[in-house]
Amino acid sequence: MRLDVLEHGHGRFARWFQRIVVALMGHEVDDVVKTSMHRPEFFGRHFLAYVREVLRGPSFWTVAEREHLGAVSSELNECPFCVRVHTETARLAGHRDVRPELAAVLTFVTLLNRGEVTPADVAAVRAAGVPEAALVEALHVNAVFNIVNRLGNAFGWSWDSDEHVRAAARVIQRTRYRLPGLVLR
């Protein structure tokens, strides 16, 4: 990472946590987690609470659909780090076909990330059978990735290997974006 404080600027519990992960799993904690554990009161604790709510809370969209939407947003924002891991998390969550409702929202989000959207674009989403609340939920998924894609690109997040990506995706699948509370204090 481009900032040494994100690599090494962690509290005692976060440092222990990183050593345990390396010992148990054979790879380093990923750069999103390292960034989130740096001064978590400024960013990480609140960001991860938002992420959990949006990507794993109750929703019109399945977990796999939200992960796929995240991968698409990441593609639009040109964040290869996020595309890699969220393509894998979508696969692990069982993402297969895109139902018409999701296709309509993907079109909307593409327009939004490329420039602007109009009420006519919303009408197209409604016509595909997407409830208003579901569109709002999808906009929050897109917002999560608009934050994290920029941080990944600016801070220079990277993966050590394809296996590192797969391991991180498995951890996300299992923990549902939860970290031990102590590392976020």
Binding site: H38, F43, E78, E116, V136, L139, N146, I147, R150
Partner: protein
């Protein structure tokens, strides 16, 4: 869960994140963080904030080095990058919600 109350929860979480990053304790001025969130930071921050907001995939090691050469430290870069990213995402969310409200 109802269609009308459900979206409030993410909204509350995002508000907490914005409060921490834009109004909470930090090493940078609140005015600078808010300007970064709006995509228009002054002086030595201008180019960097614009890049993070508009074309973050172009941000390079050299951009960070250039900020440091201006005497800016890593904690400041951390905070302003977070503020910029959160602000850009929030504005994009609002643009979508505005189209929804007008439809």
């Amino acid at each position: 869960m109802t269609a009308h109350t459900r979206p409030m929860e993410p909204t509350g979480r995002l508000a907490a994140l914005r409060a921490a990053a834009l109004d909470g304790p930090g090493v940078t001025d609140l005015d600078l963080r808010r300007a970064a969130a709006a995509g228009a930071a002054p002086g030595e921050w201008a180019d960097y904030v614009r890049s993070v907001r508009e074309t973050s995939y172009r941000v390079s090691e050299e951009d960070i080095t250039a900020l440091k050469a201006e005497g800016i430290d890593e904690e400041e870069i951390f905070e302003i990058t977070v503020a910029t990213a959160v602000g850009a995402a929030f504005d994009r969310l609002q643009a979508g919600l505005r189209a929804l409200a007008e439809s």
